[in-house]
Amino acid sequence: MNDKFFRISICLILLALLGAVPLLAQDTINIGVVMPMTGREAKPGLYQKEGIELAIKQINGAGGITIKGKKLQLKEIFYDDGSDSAKSAALTERAMSSDNVVAVIGGYSTALGEAESVMPDRYQTPWITAGAAATSIFSKGYKYTFGTLSPVVLLGSTTAEFLGSLVDQGKLKKGLKIALVVENTDHGVDYVNGINEWIGKHPGYFTVVLTEKFDLGGTDFSALLQKVKTARADIFLSDAHLQDYITMQRQYLQAGLHHQMISYGARGPESDARKALGAGTDYILAALWWSDRLPYPQVQKFVNDYKAMYNRPPDSWYAATAYDSMRILAQAIQAAGTLDKTKVRDQLAKAQLKGSLLPGMVLSYGPNGQAGYSFLVTQNKPGDKVDIVYPKDAATGPAVAPMP
């Protein structure tokens, strides 16, 4: 009996060793990707996945990444988190603990990113989010957490700064009242903080007369919009995700509301919104991490490559930040010259992706792991046109203010 047990044990050990052979003699570099393909965040999640896959295709097409003299191909290990925070964290943990990944790219949106962000340091595996930018993720001293989006506080302050520039140009009057209606997440909190920070530093420009939060995935905003109406504000600023933006703007128009300027934070030019609301999205402002109107040659190349691969142009900023996240990760792995996760992490911390698609054309991460480039402000124009209206040096058209 003992002999039989011994032989079975030996067989099991041999089988286990055989299973480990691919890990020892790896000919691919596994990259975990955790994105929502279903649920509330499915559309932006899909765009981010497409951006990553385009970058992987191009890197592999150019021969892959050289590790110890051997060219290795990138391999995506993908999981759909269903827009569910708990599932998102569990899948990130699975990728880091069981799939032999060198790094994970995930975390669209803030809520899902926050859930995932506890895993990287636990498993000492680099994690890059291309879709979450709340300060709360990057203020906990994590070492393996990186974010390709500039902070949401900056999004809020850039929006206020742009509106302030309209006051300076005489397009808007000084002392206008602002109604702030934001999603009930850290993203929304940061947005409000950014707006208030700028207003605090520039007294007399604007006054905030209403600050309200709403739950993600809301169905009826009529009561909230009634409160906005009662506030008698001049400018309506919201921070919302795509579906909430569509629902709220529809009900905003149906309620007969009108403000001198409207913004939904980082949402505005999405094709789904324009299809759902037609001219109802005209003149809406958005502060974005990227726009296909940026006058960089690499942006045009990216747009063409994306169109060639997916038969449609990139919708808003989602694919571009994911594309650059994958490229900077590949650069860090190449610089590390090994698949050791700590060494890859160290390289990511000091990486500079030159020729980046993002404003400033260089992507790098700050000491807290988050990027810090400037935002662009865009404005939807009639006929599905979108112009960059701020900053001045990147502007492709004038800002229409106040809204007709």
């Binding site: 209606v181 939060k213 569509i246």
Partner: protein, 310 residues
């Protein structure tokens, strides 16, 4: 707030009540006759929305007409679902775990089929009417919401009529009141249940098609409506059509006014402050708990003899 603001809030609450009543009434019919808490209701709402979308996109049929066409289409679909799945459930006077699990599973199947067919894109129906409003002085009323409200009132009246005046309605009421006695006097419970399930599904599909006029939708469309439907039918008394109208009105009024009217609270003396808008969804659940504790038969239970149709 001015008087116009208050009036605007009342109108907004009434329109919202119409939407809520439309989405909850199908669930009440099925619960009343079969004691099945139809978790697949959210799936039927979602399919109704896609039905109206396809009718509009492929055949250029106005979503209102699409919603009317959804009635017979979903009636047949509901009867088929009953015949294939629901009739095998053990009969019971109270909701059973088996029925809950079956309907939950079926909802998941519907959702995943929708993902296969329509993908994860958020669809919406945009007609020339979508952003149009009727203006009465300073008050703007969305035309689409007015239509949904009118449709909800018509469907409630129609259901009341069916319940009170038709042979089928009498069969349903007898099954609700006493299924054993009903069978003894010759009511065909299998046939009545199948027709009731068809009717409940028809109104769910109808409501889904109407909701598609107001909101963008994905295969995940439904859960927020499902939860509110629960609250409404519990408020209304679980088996009562008129109770649905009452429940929908109470919920809509509370949700609308709770964030727009300063509420009194006590902390070192009386204070007044607004309920933050992010707490609005909590209103329905607090209401659910309170009603279950204080009025387990719902508000309709208070007026049982006069109001209860079944």
């Amino acid at each position: 707030m001015t008087a116009v603001d208050y009036l605007s809030l009342v109108i907004s609450a009434l329109l919202l009540a119409g939407i809520y009543a439309a989405m909850a009434v199908g669930m009440t019919v099925i619960y009343g006759v079969m004691k099945i808490v139809n978790l697949a209701h959210a799936g039927f709402l979602m399919l109704g929305a896609y039905f109206a979308y396809e009718m509009y996109e492929r055949f250029h049929i106005d979503p209102i007409l699409g919603a009317v066409i959804a009635l017979p289409a979903f009636f047949l679909f509901g009867m088929a679902v009953y015949w294939v799945l629901v009739r095998w459930l053990p009969k019971s006077d109270t909701p059973t775990l088996a029925s809950l699990l079956l309907m939950f599973g079926f909802w998941q199947v519907l959702q995943n089929v929708a993902y296969l067919v329509w993908g994860n894109t958020a669809y919406s129906i945009f007609t020339p009417r979508s952003l149009a409003s009727v203006h009465i002085g300073e008050i703007s009323i969305s035309k689409d919401k007015l239509i949904v409200f009118t449709a909800a009132v018509i469907s409630l009246v129609l259901l009341q009529f069916i319940f009170n005046r038709s042979w089928f309605g009498r069969s349903m009421r007898s099954l609700i009141q006493n299924p054993y006695a009903a069978k003894i006097v010759g009511v065909d419970d299998q046939r009545t249940s199948m027709l009731s399930f068809g009717l409940g599904t028809a109104f769910a599909g109808f409501a889904g098609a109407l909701l598609a006029m107001l909101y963008p939708f994905t295969p995940d469309f439904g859960p927020p409506f499902l939860l509110r439907s629960f609250v409404i039918i519990v408020l209304g008394g679980l088996e009562s059509i008129s109770g649905v109208a009452l429940g929908a009105l109470i919920l809509a009024l509370l949700e609308t006014f709770s964030i727009n009217i300063p509420l009194p609270w006590y902390w070192h003396g009386w204070n007044f402050s607004y309920l933050p808008a992010s707490y609005q969804p909590a209103v329905s659940f607090v209401l659910l708990v309170v009603v279950l504790l204080v009025l387990p038969k719902g508000f309709a239970g208070l007026f049982e003899k006069k109001w209860r149709v079944a």
